[in-house]
């Protein structure tokens, strides 16, 4: 059985220890926060970052310089003579559209037969489903007695 607080031999000493620890934590907290702020400020300083990673910083700077240079603009001629020369250089050949594949008599007959069979199967399936639903409804419907039809109860 665990001893209760009232039965503890040194509750005052434990409380004092806890108070001392809390006081020490409070005292250290200020110094820790100051350290943290100083460290964050140092991290935000670009000189410190360059000192820590000199070659990476140099590479990033060179990369930035490389991407600062815009690409070359390609200007297309828009005057009549240049466009005419350009049009003369492009060979104009009109290609006839590819002939559509002709359906053979056998193929059309097979597709017609498949169409008809599919429709007949669909109609038959619909008929069967309707019949099944009708049977189920008749089976689970409550029997209509004389009392229920006249709205009278036996109780």
């Amino acid at each position: 059985m665990a001893p209760s607080l009232a039965q503890s031999p040194t509750p005052d000493i434990e409380a004092d220890q806890i108070r001392q620890r809390m006081r020490a934590i409070r005292r250290d907290l200020g110094a820790d926060v100051e350290d943290l702020v100083g460290h964050a400020e140092r991290l935000m300083d670009w000189r410190y970052c360059v000192q820590r990673n000199p070659w990476v910083s140099m590479g990033i700077a060179a990369f930035v310089g490389y991407f600062m240079v815009p690409g070359r603009l390609v200007a297309f001629p828009t005057d009549d003579t240049a466009l005419r020369k350009l049009a003369d250089r492009i060979p104009v050949t009109v290609q006839p559209p590819p002939p559509e594949p002709k359906a053979s008599l056998f193929g059309s007959l097979v597709s017609l037969g498949l169409n008809t069979a599919g429709r007949a199967a669909l109609a038959f399936a619909g008929q069967q489903v309707g019949k099944f639903i009708g049977q189920q409804a008749a089976q689970f419907a409550p029997p209509q007695t004389e009392e229920t039809t006249h709205g009278k109860s036996t109780r």
Binding site: P54, S57, A61, A62, V64, G65, Y66, M68, V69, R72
Partner: protein, 65 residues
């Protein structure tokens, strides 16, 4: 590596033939890298400006020519 560096420093005397082996070359390269990073840390503005200018020149040569 420290021995190689010490040997390299000793070999800076006039008339000394250095490097002799691949390890010598590696020691010299490491020394240059160390000195370079130290210089960059001491002069960050000059180093970054130089790097940006080098990047611009490289980009100009590649993209615009």
């Amino acid at each position: 590596m420290a021995n190689r560096l010490a040997e390299y420093e000793r070999s800076q005397a006039p008339g000394a033939v250095w490097p002799r082996t691949p390890q010598d070359l590696q020691a010299r390269a490491n020394l240059w890298l160390q000195q370079g990073s130290q210089w960059v840390a001491e002069h960050p503005e000059i180093a970054l400006t130089t790097a940006v200018v080098a990047g611009v020149v490289l980009g100009w040569l590649i993209k615009r020519r």
